[in-house]
Amino acid sequence: MNFSAPKGLRTVGRRRVLLGVGGVLLAAGGLVGAVRTGGYDLGPAHPGALRSLSAWQFVVVQALARRIAAADDPNDESIPSADAVDVAGFVDAYVAEMHPLMRLDLVRLLSFIEHLAPLGVRAASRFTKLDGATQDAVLSWLESNDQGLLRGGFAAVKSLVFMGYYRDPRTWKILGYAGPLVGRPVGGWQ
């Protein structure tokens, strides 16, 4: 069995969706093909074993995670780093389960962050090559951008990163969060 679309089906095209919200990602999307995809080093933890992200996408996520989940006290060794809890590895696995269209939007956003967003703070380099302070400036520019789509895109990336970071029990002690109760004896109301 296979089914075809009914006559008169009204859908909103992808182009109109993107243009309707500013067209920024459409421009960035065009860049995806042109991105230099070589020269991105995955590091020892992920020697080519990625599920959904390519090497350059993984490195961009890793750079984003390091800034978004940066510790408030860099000297406090009890705070696990984004790398230590493998935020980028989590994002890679999470994105693998996403709807392909959502995945495509994310890739476009990563491409935009890597290649165009630095221009927003007059930095003429790729995001992953910037120092931490300039990367933070880029992220602040995105978070408070006049283009709603960029703000929304930043919020999405931030959620993914924090999901990867605060999923790890080692981070819960920063918050004093006790974690799941399943499997533990609990008292309470009946």
Binding site: M1, N2, F3, P6, K7, G8, L9, R10, T11, V12, G13, R14, V17, G20, V21, R67, I68, A69, A70, A71, D72, D73, I79, F90, Y94, E97, M98, H99, L101, D136, L139, E143, S144, G148, L149, R151, G152, A155, A156, K158, F162, M163, Y165, Y166, R167, T171, W172, I174, L175, G176, Y177, A178, G179, P180, L181, V182, V186, G188, W189, Q190
Partner: protein
């Protein structure tokens, strides 16, 4: 393939299916489960097709990273088209009732009266619906949440509301055997929720209904103005199709939620001569304010919501009081995503987690959103909040801040971008509310409604007051899509009750 509950897991189907039944229900949330049960109890051959999985309490691990993808549409990432509002909706047997926070409020009489007078809804007044409300409340064991179950976050709301002399009170819920773990929005591992998954779907299968999980309905079929069935795809866990289902039925009940039903109707090119389909969507959008306390709050522990402030809520159309205030504490990932900023400052703010109380202001909205179908035939939601609704949201957030200060907060943060941090209630007097605009602060919607609204006038509604489509006989709507306006409060009991109230019409049509 079918487990002890009588639910067939679509992901385990091997080979296409052709089914001939009296009625097919799309979706098994609040509205779908009741329609399914009533059709089965009437002795009809009825099935439900549910696109999400069938989960049991043993699957609920209380971990956000695992439950969001498992229980929510788009893994919790569904948003409006401009990415300004996050829309949380359920996916799976039991629908959004699996991870909701169990608040139970009947449709206010004033709203039912408004629908009768202004929106031409007949036969759905307070007296007409009383029996349905009573019966669903009995089924779900609805009761007032005991004061002893009020956690510190809810107590902050109570203290502040009372200190200001504002109207508020204890809420009702549908839990039995709750141990107050606080993980309601991730599913209840203790099986304490008396919801569609635990109560209504099992009643339906006991009465002879069959439920297929993992089956997405892709088209509603109709011929010469009559519903004739649906087409659907069963998918494996990775989303790959494993089987096609061709279902013939005299009655089709759309219960795929206010976004899912309208988008499916549009995908199916249902007649819509007066351009009503997908219009008038309400989101009941909300945003949060956090107060920092010297005392420990530990808001993640205990029943998440048990108290409400209704000082700024009445149900008049165009009213200047359209805000419902309830606690809104989240687990770490939800909190981290909502707190503005990132990096070191963000982590500093997160360290106050145990001392934060968080309140949410939800707007009884009059903005008319729209459901369309976008790329990949996925739902596309447009929602441009009106100025009047933005003003309401601003007022609500200021009211939350006043409550937090009145309850003893030492610092209050409105989660705007950049964050607005206040040290006393006096600072609220001169506060500019320009931050309440799209992307100016994280806005979340958990109560979508409307989009296929009911009414007797086909020029102003999609379905009649019986829930049947104006132009396709035998096609019914039985979910939050029906409501002509927002309810101003939690909708589940209204959705269950309307499904019950309208079910005799479905039964009559299936028997005809």
């Amino acid at each position: 393939m079918s487990d002890a509950s009588g639910i067939i897991r679509g992901r385990e189907l091997r080979g296409d299916l052709k089914l001939d039944v009296d009625a097919v229900v799309v979706g098994t949330g609040a509205g779908g489960s009741v329609a399914l049960r009533e059709l089965a109890r009437a002795g009809l051959r009825v099935i439900a097709l549910e696109e999400g999985g069938h989960h049991t309490p043993a699957d609920f691990t209380q971990r956000e990273d695992q439950m969001l993808p498992m229980l929510f549409q788009d893994g919790g990432g569904r948003t409006t088209r401009d990415l300004a509002i996050r829309i949380l909706q359920g996916r799976g047997v039991g629908g959004s009732t699996v991870h909701n926070t169990n608040l139970c409020k009947r449709t206010p009489d004033a709203i039912l009266e408004l629908w009768r007078q202004r929106y031409g809804v007949s036969g759905c007044g307070p007296t007409d619906l009383r029996a349905a409300f009573e019966s669903i409340e009995r089924d779900l064991s609805v009761s007032e949440i005991p004061a002893a179950m009020r956690n510190a976050n809810n107590d902050v709301l109570r203290l502040g509301t009372q200190a200001l002399g504002w109207r508020g009170g204890q809420l009702k819920h549908n839990r039995v055997g709750c141990i107050g773990s606080g993980f309601c929005e991730l599913g209840c591992a203790y099986d304490a929720k008396r919801n569609a998954l635990k109560v209504v779907v099992p009643q339906a299968t006991a009465a002879g209904a069959t439920v297929y999980s993992d089956v997405e309905v892709t088209r509603v079929l109709y011929k010469q103005g009559r519903a004739s069935g649906v087409q659907a795809i069963a998918r494996a866990a990775n989303g790959e199709p494993v089987a096609w289902l061709d279902v013939r039925a005299k009655v089709v009940v759309l219960a795929a939620s206010a976004i899912g039903s309208a988008s499916l109707a549009i995908r199916s090119a249902l007649p819509d001569p007066f351009a009503q389909l997908g219009r008038n969507l309400r989101l009941h959008p909300g945003a949060v304010v956090a107060g920092r306390f010297e005392r420990t709050i530990n808001g993640a522990s205990g029943v998440p919501q048990s108290y409400e402030c209704t000082e700024h809520l009445d149900y008049e159309e165009g009213s200047d009081k359209r805000v419902w205030i309830v606690p809104a504490f989240a687990h770490p990932i939800g909190t981290a995503s909502t707190l503005p900023g990132f990096g070191a400052r963000h982590m500093k703010a997160m360290r106050a987690y145990g001392n934060l109380a968080v309140l949410s202001a939800m707007v009884h909205d009059e903005t008319s959103g729209r459901v369309e179908v976008g790329p990949g035939e996925r739902p596309l939601v447009t929602y441009d909040m009106t100025t009047a609704d933005r003003v309401q949201l601003a007022k609500g957030l200021v009211a939350c801040a006043r409550i937090l200060f009145a309850a003893g907060a030492t610092e209050v943060t409105i989660a705007a971008i950049p964050p607005i941090t206040l040290r006393s209630a006096a600072e609220l007097d001169g506060l500019s509310t320009a931050f309440v605009r799209p992307h100016g602060l994280p806005i979340t919607a958990v109560h979508p409604m409307g989009s296929m609204r009911m009414g007797d006038d086909p020029r102003a509604s999609v379905v009649s007051s019986t829930g049947e489509h104006h132009f396709v006989r035998g096609l019914f709507v039985s979910d939050g899509s029906l409501f002509p306006t927002s309810l101003g409060g939690p909708p589940q009991i209204s959705i269950y009750a309307f499904a019950q109230h309208l079910s005799p019409h479905m039964i009559a049509r299936a028997r005809a």
